[in-house]
């Protein structure tokens, strides 16, 4: 069986404090996992470990191509939104317009990134992930700052991704509409 992500006995430690120990998690195509827990429980650290940005204190991480959405849009502030997204889409071999369309950002595609509101930035961050075409999505609080319409769009995008055989690892306080998701509780 091909796996999109496999965490085997992963221990996360930040600043000398153990956040979680010996965590096992496997995501196959079409599967999702929702990480929950109080503030500071290590949700973001777990996602950064899965993304390969942090080294786990113990255990192994195997993952293929992944796309991460955290609190940073990582879009060049002075460029038009469409161009800023296209920079990443070109690196990923994806399609920026698919992301713009999915998050309802087509009307602001020509607006410079620095002019966008907080909610629009969040949408743009998610559009970058959708446009990447990566099989594994790592979403850190994806619904934060989104209005009801944005949350619906996010839920629809996640459903579509899972149906196409993608995987999602999300950390959130809000129910994201991932009905069949494995629950990972930290803290």
């Amino acid at each position: 069986m091909t796996r999109l992500l496999r965490l085997d006995g992963v221990t996360g430690r930040r600043g000398g404090r153990t956040l979680f120990e010996a965590l096992d998690l496997t995501l196959a195509p079409g599967e999702a996992a929702l990480v929950t827990g109080p503030n500071g429980a290590g949700k973001s650290s777990l996602l950064r470990i899965a993304a390969g940005l942090l080294r786990p204190a113990a255990g192994t991480v195997e993952s293929g191509a992944a796309s991460l959405a955290d609190e940073h849009p990582a879009l060049d502030e002075r460029r038009r939104l469409a161009d800023a997204l296209a920079f990443w889409a070109r690196l990923d071999g994806g399609d920026a317009s698919a992301g713009l369309e999915a998050m309802g950002l087509a009307p602001v595609a020509d607006v410079p990134v620095r002019m966008l509101s907080a909610g629009q930035r969040k949408r743009a961050t998610l559009a970058r992930v959708i446009a990447s075409g990566a099989p594994l999505w790592l979403l850190d609080e994806p619904a934060n700052g989104l209005d009801a319409e944005g949350q619906d769009r996010l839920a629809a995008a996640m459903r579509g991704h899972l149906e196409r055989g993608g995987g999602i690892l999300a950390a959130s306080h809000q129910p994201l509409g991932l009905a069949a998701a494995q629950a990972v509780r930290l803290g």
């Binding site: 390969g52 940005l53 942090l54 609190e71 940073h72 060049d76 070109r90 690196l91």
Partner: protein
Amino acid sequence: MIGLVARELRLAAAAGAALLPPVFFLLVATLFPFAVGPDGPLLARTGGGALWMAALLAALLPVDRLVEPDRASGVLDQLAVRGIGEETVAIAKLAGHWLSFGPPLMIAALPAAALMKLPSDVLLRLELGLLVGTPGLAALTLAVAALTAGLRRGGALAGLLMLPLAVPLLIFGAGLVERGNQAGALQLLAAVSLLLVAGAPFAAGAAIRASRD
């Protein structure tokens, strides 16, 4: 890789980076004759060294622009998630930074040399030295920018870190200008510059990785 270098050049253009160091360089060249007096032979004798000092200080200007904005906005993280090595990112940044720093400085050296009354053979040696030495300066700026990224008041620390490391470039660069290629000043300048260019991507890459923990 080409996309990354193109992005660096675009950011540099947006920040007016190709303009700032040459303007600073010219400003120093303008002030220097006021400081030592309008004595032609004295200016011609000391001008080359003063211009190298100016180049060194001009290299410090972009230090807070090179790495920190990309770290703070998550661009470095996103590149890492895509499996692009920190060293590769650093090489792209070095190439983009030198292109927007070295050639403009060499062009600014022309009017600066006129202000210093440098004879044409000295100007030629200055330009040659800048061509060989600015990649080393750019590499040093990049490494120091990566080391100080994420630190408060990193700019002040960057100056303290960078200027001592730039001493060899200054010695051989100014030596080449003032005494010609005696005792292999050009070769030594090239060797120091090459060493910095070869080492900086690894130092910068390691610093970027370390800043995540």
